[in-house]
Symmetry: C2
Subunit: 147 residues, 2 copies
DNA sequence: CAGTCTTCCTACCAACTAAGTAGGAATACT
DNA sequence: AGTATTCCTACTTAGTTGGTAGGAAGACTG
């Protein structure tokens, strides 16, 4: 699996949003707790203008809610426990497994290589199992337990 | 997981070598059954000169044995049942999982994102389980069963 | 209503990687 | 000697990724 900078930043930003809002005690989910893009960029060392285009993807995917203006910012649309790592990856990246730039399920093998398609599908399923099982809340809890 | 053209071609070439030698009845493993690069290229629609650089990788990784000259060609160094898909992928591609171009185990997260590293390691393990369990012989057998 | 803050959106640039090509040197057989 | 084939290096080309610039649109304050 290849994790692009875009996907990596997206996850870190989502975690930072969940953490900032969650510190108020409502489990990371509350309409009033908006976090500014500049604050996220600073806390996770992400170039601001690049981050903004990523936040746009996340909003279009329905994972974030945004608000403009002086007291604007971003907030989760669902509790952190209901957002999985896979949700975020698919919001910015497309398919989890790709063969030569195309999704794994349209590979087009022939002859002796016909069995490869099933291997890629099995890999895709194995990855999905891991990333869909892990939620943002899990990752934040791990951190709290480790510190 | 991203499967590059190089990795895809490598697997198809290895399968073709195993199949060509295996048709003699010795299970795909015999020093005398050399397959020419041009023959592999034609059977799996791979650009010949590109294939040659891939075969070189496979030879350096110890998966193929080669012989020059008029009756030259390539053969497996081990029976097809002892070569896994993962062996081939690692021969041409490096790490199975990479984050921003670097191996998953040296990610360097801080703050709220610290838990991500464990996610990537879990993904890497899940992929390895699939590709190391599947051998070239398995794939050839699947094809025989399906036809 | 003017001013300020922030998100929103499009277009663009630079660097890198992947994919594929070309040409020749070394080796093995006849 | 001649021919066939692997071997190896260097190069070209096209696409993607990572990142930047500059403004338009909306939201609050006074």
């Amino acid at each position: 699996m290849y994790v692009s900078a875009r996907a990596d930043y997206a996850l870190r930003a989502m975690l930072a949003v969940a953490d900032a809002a969650g510190s108020t005690g409502d489990g990371g989910y509350g309409g009033g707790e908006l976090v500014k893009a500049a604050s996220l960029a600073e806390r996770q060392d992400i170039p601001l203008s690049f981050l903004q285009s990523i936040l746009l993807d996340l909003r279009r995917a329905g994972l974030l809610h945004s608000h403009r203006g002086t007291e604007g910012g971003y907030a989760l649309t669902r509790p952190a426990a209901e957002i999985s790592v896979g949700d975020v990856l698919r919001a910015v990246g497309g398919a989890l497994t790709s063969v030569r730039g195309m999704p794994a399920d349209r590979a087009g093998y022939h002859g002796v290589a016909a069995g490869l398609r099933d291997v890629w599908l099995a890999v895709d399923g194995a990855i999905a199992l891991v990333v869909d099982r892990t939620t943002l809340a899990d990752l934040l809890a791990d951190r709290a337990a480790a510190s």
